[in-house]
């Protein structure tokens, strides 16, 4: 009947059919009985039927649910009402192909007045691709959310307007808010300064620029809890492309503990520096002030011994001799202690210094000892180094002095050389044929007041090598010894070379 009536107005039918075929979507025209009266080639393709297999069939066969019910409901309303309600509103339903396969569709309905009453034209779009994309997005979001929650730090995702769009449980805890209290709120509420401003700056740049700049750079700001209390935070920003534009993910770390630890460390370092300074000051003042009374003891015991030697009994002479010896030994100790503490307190003046000239000066200072022992001191050409000249002379003097002093009977032979260590450092070596040192003492000999021999064998205060160590360390180098008892010793120390080739 419908077919017949439609054919009565063949001209309009042909026009409508043309429109139908030109549509990019599958189009199906259905009557109030839910029967298909017209369809286009896209509809054939989409549902896998030939046209004649569908015309006159129930639309339920290809759209099992949601469409026919709506037609009935719509039948009770005027075409105008139905039109007004449905225009532009896509319905998401399921389409079923001839082979039974189903696929997601979106249909748009529009009423079509006809002689048989109101027909409904349905534009049917296969939305399986879009659905898959949406599913993928949802999945990604789910994953992102999972990642967010798994993060050890508080995480907040903020849009360009500075509003919080997503956050994790750590963020809730850290800031003392429930999630729903924060979503949609301005991020300024929890990070009053420095963050929102940065977002605006970031908006002017591409996501890549922003990413490149922000990755790995922590910004230290202040976070504010719901109760108003502040705490130090470090935030790391990374841009996140999304359908709503570039969002910014902020990882927010509470650095209260770290800040405390840093402050603590700083304080400790300051205390240490202060106590070091005080100690050096103390050593200097103590040794300086101790010299005065000691000078009296030394001078008067000596005066006693000079004036009254042989006038008292032999015991008295001996006692006085011990006192004189003790006093002068203590004077040497204090002198060396002073020299040691001066090595540390004087300002550093490192200049290009000829180490050969420094050695020559040291040998001049040691002339007496060298002549007395008939020592033979030789050396290779020595380089120009960055050094405090006075201290370098002292260093050579102490090391060569020791080599001359700690000897078997025989002629001391001492050789000084220097070699580059690959970089710009020079390793100096002072080699002797003296007594040698047991390896168990290698560290100890560089300590303060450390002596390996009885005073009757070798005089000395045990400060010389401690001064050497301090001098070398103040020059940024290190000192060590190689030795075997009976086979001489070689002392090595490293100094920075000068820029200029020597």
């Amino acid at each position: 009947m419908i077919t017949r009536e439609l054919s009565e107005s063949k001209e309009s039918d042909a026009k409508y059919r043309g429109l139908l075929e030109a549509a990019p979507d599958a189009m199906v025209v259905v009557n109030q009985g839910g029967e298909i009266v017209l369809l286009n080639v896209q509809a054939e393709k989409q549902f896998g039927y030939r046209r004649d297999e569908l015309v006159g069939q129930k639309v339920k066969n290809i759209i099992p649910e949601g469409f026919a019910e709506r037609l009935i409901a719509d039948g009770t309303r005027s075409a105008a009402e139905a039109l007004a309600q449905h225009i532009g509103t896509g319905l998401e339903l399921i389409g079923r192909r001839k082979d039974g396969g189903e696929f997601p569709i979106e249909i748009m309905l529009s009423p079509l007045e006809s002689t048989e009453g109101v027909l409904v034209t349905a534009a049917i779009r296969n939305i399986s691709v879009r659905k898959a994309a949406e599913r993928h997005l949802a999945q990604m979001e789910g994953r992102y959310r999972g990642l967010l929650e798994a993060a050890p730090d508080a995480m907040v995702v903020v849009n360009q307007a500075g509003e919080i769009v997503l956050l994790n449980v750590q963020a809730e805890k850290q800031f003392g808010y429930r999630r729903d209290e924060l979503v949609g709120q301005k991020v300024k509420n929890i990070i009053p300064e420095g963050f929102a401003e940065r977002l605006i700056a970031d908006a002017l740049r591409s996501a890549e620029d922003a990413l490149a700049q922000q990755i790995g750079t922590g910004i230290e700001l202040t976070g504010r809890r719901k109760d108003g209390s502040g705490f130090p935070i470090e935030i790391m920003l990374s841009p996140l492309e999304s359908a709503e534009g570039v969002l910014v993910t902020a990882a927010i770390r509470n650095i209260t503990k770290r800040k405390k630890a840093e402050a603590n460390l700083l304080q400790k370092v300051e205390e240490l520096n202060r106590s070091n300074e005080e100690l050096e000051q103390f050593a200097y003042i103590a040794s300086h002030d101790l010299q005065e009374p000691l000078r009296m003891v030394a001078s008067y015991t000596q005066l006693l011994s000079r004036r009254y030697k042989g006038q008292l009994d032999s015991d008295a002479d001996e006692f006085i001799a011990f006192a004189v010896d003790g006093a002068s030994r203590m004077q040497r100790l204090i002198q060396d202690l002073l020299a040691y503490s001066r090595t540390g307190t004087n300002a550093k003046h490192l200049f290009e210094t000829s180490s050969e000239e420094a050695l020559q000066q040291a040998l001049v200072n040691l002339r007496g000892a060298i002549e007395e022992s008939h020592a033979v001191v030789t050396h290779d050409p020595l380089p120009t180094v960055l050094a405090d000249e006075m201290q370098l002379v002292q260093l050579f003097q102490n090391l060569v002095g020791n080599a001359v002093k700690y000897q078997n009977p025989g002629i001391p032979r001492i050789h000084i050389s220097a070699a580059r260590n690959g970089g710009n450092k020079w390793i100096f070596s002072i080699k002797d044929n003296g007594l040698g040192i047991d390896s168990q003492y290698f560290d100890r000999i560089f300590g303060m007041f450390q002596r390996l021999h009885k005073r009757e064998e070798f005089a000395g205060t045990g400060v010389g090598l401690a001064i050497c160590k301090k001098i070398v360390e103040r020059h940024g180098g290190s000192i060590s010894v190689e030795s075997q008892p009976g086979h001489g010793s070689t002392f090595h120390f490293a100094l920075e070379g000068s820029e200029r080739e020597s």
């Binding site: 005065e292 030394a298 000596q302």
Partner: protein
């Protein structure tokens, strides 16, 4: 020493020193070097100035041939005493030797800037002290030709 003794007067030395131990050591050292030296002692800067200006109990004080001045003094430091002496028209011709424990370059330089005539380090042993006393006597009080006291205002 004979140069000064020629007019029959003893040699007058003013020691400005607060440490009695050092005072005695100096006395002993001079006694060993030249028994005719009169050693006068001022135990601080203020007393030294009073002695030199013949004030109060020092009204009969002789004008010294040499001043030995310690730097580390109570009340008025050695540097101030030195500055005072060298600014004073009548006193500045008196040779003034600094005798100090300090080996600090700054102390030495400052003393010469203030016109000290020489700077001596206090020896740490008696032998060295005795030898220094002898050196002072042999040089400042014997070899050196000092201005005639009568010509001083």
């Amino acid at each position: 020493m004979k140069a000064i003794e020629a007019d029959g007067r003893p040699i007058e030395v003013l020691l400005v020193e607060d440490s009695i131990g050092d005072v005695r050591l100096t006395k002993e050292a001079f006694r060993a070097a030249n028994a005719s030296i009169h050693l006068h002692v001022a135990s601080d800067g203020i007393e030294a100035i009073a002695f030199l200006k013949r004030e109060g109990v020092h009204i009969h004080a002789p004008r010294p041939d040499l001043i030995l001045l310690d730097l580390d003094l109570p009340n008025m430091g050695g540097r101030e005493v030195l500055a005072y002496i060298k600014k004073d028209d009548t006193l500045r011709t008196i040779p003034t030797a600094i005798l100090s424990i300090s080996e600090a370059e700054s102390d030495i330089a400052k003393s010469y800037q203030l016109q000290a005539n020489c700077y001596l380090i206090k020896p740490a042993h008696w032998d060295a002290f005795a030898s220094l006393g002898k050196s002072i006597n042999d040089f400042w009080l014997t070899k050196v030709k000092l201005p005639q006291k009568s010509q001083s205002p």
